[in-house]
Symmetry: D2
Subunit: 331 residues, 4 copies
C-alpha cells in the first residue's frame, strides 16, 4: 500500500483525504494544513496524523505520494518540493493562473522525471470514461463534432470570481480539457463569445457568466462548448460525441430515479445534483485510484502537466477571441 | 380500388369513414346511419353518398366491403346480412355482449366462408405490432411474462357503464386479446380481483373500476393485466414482454415531445394523449389498411371471429373468478 | 371553404396537395405542373382538376389561395403573379437563392398588401411551437442560450448540392429562422466554421457538409447551431432553450416507441425517422392550416417575406465569417 | 459515536463492516466470524479487532450495537443473546425460515424492549424512500395499485435454492415487505402462480423460478408482484405506485449514463447493475445509518420484527394459493 500525505484540509482536501482513507491501494498517513483546526478535525475523523506544515509532510521519509488540494498559488512550489524529494504528486488544477509561470513549472516537472498527475477529475466520471473508451473502440467511427454543455447551479461569490482568473481559466478549463481528450486532436483555432446575463456585477469584475465557444482541429473536427454560471435545475454537465458511425451522450445525475406522473405533467424527475462535489463524487474516487495505479505500476499518468498547459492555452485564446471578435489560432 | 360502405356515422363510424376516404386502396361510396343528420354531414365532408338504411347500403351491387361501426346490438345482424350477399366485413368489437349469441354468430360467420375481421384496433398500434414482430423474430427468446397496463383517463357516464357489459367485457376485452396475441398461446386459467376505488356508483351498478388479473397458459407463461377507469395523467397504455433473452416495452404517446427543466423538476413531459381516438389514431388507419390488404389479396384476416370469442371467454372467466375468489379454468 | 390551387406536383407539391385535400378549411381545386404525368396522377389520386400551366391555375377566378411548391427559380414570378390577381400565397422557401433578387421581391410582396406566407415548416412542428409558447409564457424566464442540432440522415446528390446555394442557404436557413424565432431578437453577429468530413466531393463543389455557428444578439443572448449532412441514426432535429428559470428541449421522433432490453443493452429504441417529409409530416399539415386560418381571419401571417430575408442574411454572414475567420456583423 | 460489532464476515457481513467503518455515527470495534481467515482479513482491511466467537463479541462491555450478517439459522440465537445483554441489534432477514420459530422469537424480541431492526434494505434505496415520502405527502392521492417487478440477473446455485426456503420466502420476501410498506395497509388476500421457465432443476427441488402474485387489502387496494430468477439485461427492480392523483415510478440503475445512437438503434444504454450488492449499495449504507440514528435518538426502528413476521405470512399464503389455485386469506 502506498503511504499518502494530503496537503490542504479545505473543501477539496477533505474529499481527497477521505478518498485516500477508503482506497485499498493507499494508507492515509498525514493531512497537512496551516489552519490547525481543519487539519486536526480531518485527521481525527479519518484516523491519521496531522501537520500544520505541508513542507514537513512532504519531507517525511515514510510518504510515497502527495495529493495537493491547497490554494492555487501554492500548487507550483508544493509540487516542485515534493517531486524534488521523489514523491509522486497528484495536484489540483490549475498549476498556476499565469500561463508563463505554469509553463515554467511544467518544464521543471518534466525534468524531474517523477510521476506527476494533474487533477482533471471529469475525465474519471464513469460516463465520460465510457464515452472515451467507446470512441477509441471505434463505436462511432470518425469523430466529427463534440458538444459540451457545462452549467453551474449558481455563481460563486464575488471574491471567488475576483481570484478565479475568469470564467475561461476557472470553469471552462475543465471543458477545454474534455474537448481535447474527446476530439483526440488539439484544436488549432478558437472562437468565443462571452456575456453577463446572470449577474451584472460579474461584468464589472471584467468577467463573463455566459459563454459559447467553437474549437476547430487541423483535420476539421469541430467542438462547441456552452457554459453558464447559473442553471435553475442543477449542475448541468453534458457531453455529446457525434461521429461518422453514430453518437454518444451522457445522461443526467440525480439524487434518485423517481419519475412522477400527475395531472399536469408526466415522467418528471428530480433536479440534477446541485454541487460539483456531489456530481463528481465517483469521479474523485476514480481519479485517485487511477493516480495510485499509475504510481504502483510505473506507467504513464493519465493526465500530465502538458494537458494543463494545453487547456490553459485554449482559455487564453478564448479571451483573445472575445477581444478581437475573431478566430484565434492556437499553436 | 375496393368500394366501401361504412355503417354508422357516430364517433367511431366517422373515424372509419375518414380513414376509408384517405386510404389509397379504397373508395368511400356510402355512409349509412338511421340518424340522417349524422349520415349526411359525414357524407358531405367526405364527398360520398349517404343512406339512412344500412341494409340498403349492404345490398348495393357496387359495394365490395362493409365497415360496421354501429351500436353493439346490430353487429351480428348487419354482419350476417353483409356476408350473405358476399361482402367483406370489418366489424367493431364486440360481436355481441352475450357469449352464446356471439358464439352462434361465429358459427354462421365461419360457415359463410367470406372475409370477416373483428376490429381489435390495438394490435395495429405501431409499437404493439413491432413488439409482436420482435417476439416472432425471437428477439427476446421464449416469452415468460407479459405485463399489460391499461388505464383510461376518466370513467364513462353511468348509462354507458350500464349498457357496457361491465369492465371485463368492455375494457379488458382489448387487453385479453392483446395478452393472447403476445403470449402466442391461449391462457388456461384466469384469476381476477375487482374493486371500486374511483367511483362508488360504479359499484352500485354491479361493476368495478379498478382490476388486476393474472392469466396462465398450459406451458406456464404468465400474464398480468392491471386496469383502472381513471388516470389523472392521461390514457396509460403499456405493454411489457419479458422473455428468456430480453424484454420489450412500448413507450408513452404525448401531443409533443417537449421536456421541461425548471427549478423543482427535470425532464418533465406533457400529459399522455387523453382519449383513445387520439391515442389509437394511427392504429385505426393501419387496422383498416390491414383489412383492405387481406380482402385484396384473399389472405387470412389478421383478426377473426374466433379471436373475439376467446377474448370474451377470458372476460367471463375473470368475472367468475371474482365471484369464487379462485382461479377459473378456461377451455 | 377556401378554394386552393397547388403549383408543383413534385415531392413537396404532392405533400401540399394532399394536405389541402384533407384540410377542413380548404377545397383542392387544381394541381398545376408542366410535367403532365405528375399533375394528372396527383389530381386523379386527390380527385381534383389538373393543369400543365401554373399561370393558368393562378388566373382562375374560382381560386382563393395558391400554394407554391415549384423549383426555386420560379418562386418569385409565380408569387408576384398570384399576388397581382389577389390570391393569398403560401410559398416554399427560399424566395430566391440570390439575396438581392429576394430582397427586390420582398419589396413587391409587401407593396401588394396581399396575404403572403413563407413556408418555414419547422415552426409548426408541435414541439417547436410548444417551446415557443412556453418561452412566451415566461416558463424559462429570460432566454440566455439556444442550441440547435440539425443533422440530415444522408447528403443529397451532387447535382442537388450544386444547385442548392450551399449548406448555409439550403439547410441552415431553417435553423437560422428557428434561432431568430426562439431568441425573440435578431442576431447582430455571426461566427461560423465549415468543413467537409462526410464527402470530399462536397468540398470540390465549394461547399461544406459539417458546420458550427454561433449567433449573438444585441442584448447578449447566444445561439449555437451544429449541422451535418449525414447522421447514421436518422434525421436528428433538436432544439434547446436555456433561460434564467429553466430549460426546454424537444425529443426525438421515431416510427414507434418500443424499448428493447437485451443482454448487452437496455432501453434501446428505433432509429429516428429518416426523411424530413416523415419527420415533419405533422408540421406541413399544421403549417397549411395556419396559413388558411390567417387567410380566413385576415390576421397577420405567422411567417412573412421579411423572415425569409433575415434568415438569408444570416446565411450570407456565415459564409463571410468562414472566409474571414472572424465574427461578421449583421445589420 | 456508537461502538459496533459486526457478526459474520462473509459476503453480506463484509458489506456491513465496511459501512460501519465509513459511517460517522459509528466506530467499528470488532468483526466476528468462526472462519478465522474471513474475520481477520476483514479486520485488517478495516483496521479493527476480530474474533472467531460471535458470542464473545456480543458480550464485550464496550459494544453498543451488533449487526448480524451470519447464516440464517443463527439469526435468532444471536439476536436474543445480544438483546439479553442490552445491545441494539440490526439483523439480516429473515429471522428464521420457519414461521413458528420466527414468531416465537418475535415475542422474545418485543418482550426485551431493546432496539431491534430487521434489515429490509430495499426500503432504504433512495428512490424507494422518495416514493414512500411522496405517497405520505399525498402527491398521488389515494393509492389504488402498486406494481412491483423484481427479476434477478441469474439463478443462485442449486444448493442455495435447497436451503433458501423457496422463492417466496427467499426472494419475494423483499417484495412482500415493499408491498405492505407502499400500500400502507396489510393485504388480506393473496393469489399466486408459480412456474419453472428458467431451469427445470428448480422444479425438481419443489421450487419455482417465475411467479406472479396479486395482493388485495381490506379497503380494496391492489398490488401485483412479478418475479423471475433470471433476466438477461440485469437486476430489474421496479416499483410503481398508482393513485387517484398520479403515479410514481423508480428508474433503472446502470454503471454509467451513456446513451448510444448507431445506425440500427438509438438511445441505447448499458445493462442494469447486475448484482444486488451493487444495485443496493447505497441502500445498505442508508439502512445502517437509519439504524444508528434510531439507536442514538431512542426512536422507533424503521423496520421491526413484526414487519418480518407479516412478510413471511404473505410468503406462506402465496405458497398455499399455488397449492389450492385459490385466493388465500391472510389474518
Amino acid at each position: 500500500m502506498l503511504k499518502v500525505a494530503v496537503l490542504g484540509a479545505g473543501r477539496i482536501g477533505q474529499i481527497h483525504a477521505a478518498n485516500v482513507a477508503a482506497n485499498a491501494r493507499a494508507e492515509l498517513i498525514v493531512v497537512a494544513d496551516p489552519v490547525e483546526a481543519a487539519a486536526s478535525s480531518t485527521a481525527l475523523k479519518l484516523n491519521c496524523e496531522y501537520s500544520t506544515d505541508p513542507y514537513e509532510a512532504i519531507g517525511r521519509s515514510d510518504i510515497d505520494a502527495v495529493v495537493i488540494g491547497t490554494p492555487t498559488d501554492t500548487h507550483v512550489p508544493l509540487t516542485l518540493a515534493a517531486l524534488a524529494v521523489g514523491k509522486a504528486v497528484l495536484c489540483e488544477k490549475p498549476l498556476d493562473l499565469d500561463q508563463s509561470k505554469a509553463n515554467a513549472a511544467i518544464v521543471e516537472i518534466e525534468k524531474s522525471g517523477k510521476p506527476f498527475m494533474l487533477a482533471f477529475n471529469r475525465r474519471f466520471d464513469p460516463s465520460a470514461s465510457e464515452i472515451k473508451r467507446a470512441i477509441e473502440a471505434g463505436e462511432v467511427g470518425d469523430v466529427r463534432q463534440v458538444v459540451i454543455t457545462s452549467r453551474d447551479p449558481s455563481p460563486p461569490p464575488a471574491d471567488y470570481i475576483q481570484r478565479s482568473g475568469g470564467i475561461f481559466r476557472d470553469m471552462l478549463i475543465h471543458d477545454f480539457d474534455m474537448a481535447r481528450w474527446l476530439l483526440g486532436e488539439d484544436p488549432v483555432e478558437v472562437f468565443a463569445v462571452g456575456n453577463c446575463l446572470v449577474d451584472a456585477n460579474i461584468s464589472s469584475l471584467g468577467d463573463f457568466d455566459t459563454t459559447m465557444v467553437i474549437l476547430r482541429t487541423a483535420s476539421g473536427k469541430q467542438c462547441h462548448i456552452n457554459t453558464c454560471r447559473h442553471a435553475s435545475y442543477g449542475h448541468d454537465q453534458r457531453i455529446e460525441v457525434f461521429g461518422s458511425a453514430g453518437m454518444l451522450q451522457n445522461g443526467h445525475i440525480r439524487p434518485h430515479t423517481v419519475h412522477r406522473f400527475t395531472d399536469g405533467t408526466t415522467d418528471a424527475q428530480a433536479p440534477l445534483l446541485h454541487f460539483f462535489l456531489e456530481r463528481y463524487k465517483q469521479a474523485y474516487e476514480l481519479e485517485l485510484d487511477a493516480f495510485l495505479r499509475s504510481v504502483e505500476s510505473g506507467t504513464d499518468m493519465p493526465v500530465n502537466a502538458n494537458d494543463g498547459r494545453k487547456a490553459l492555452a485554449l482559455a487564453e485564446a478564448a479571451l483573445r477571441s472575445i477581444e478581437t471578435r475573431a478566430g484565434v489560432a492556437v499553436d
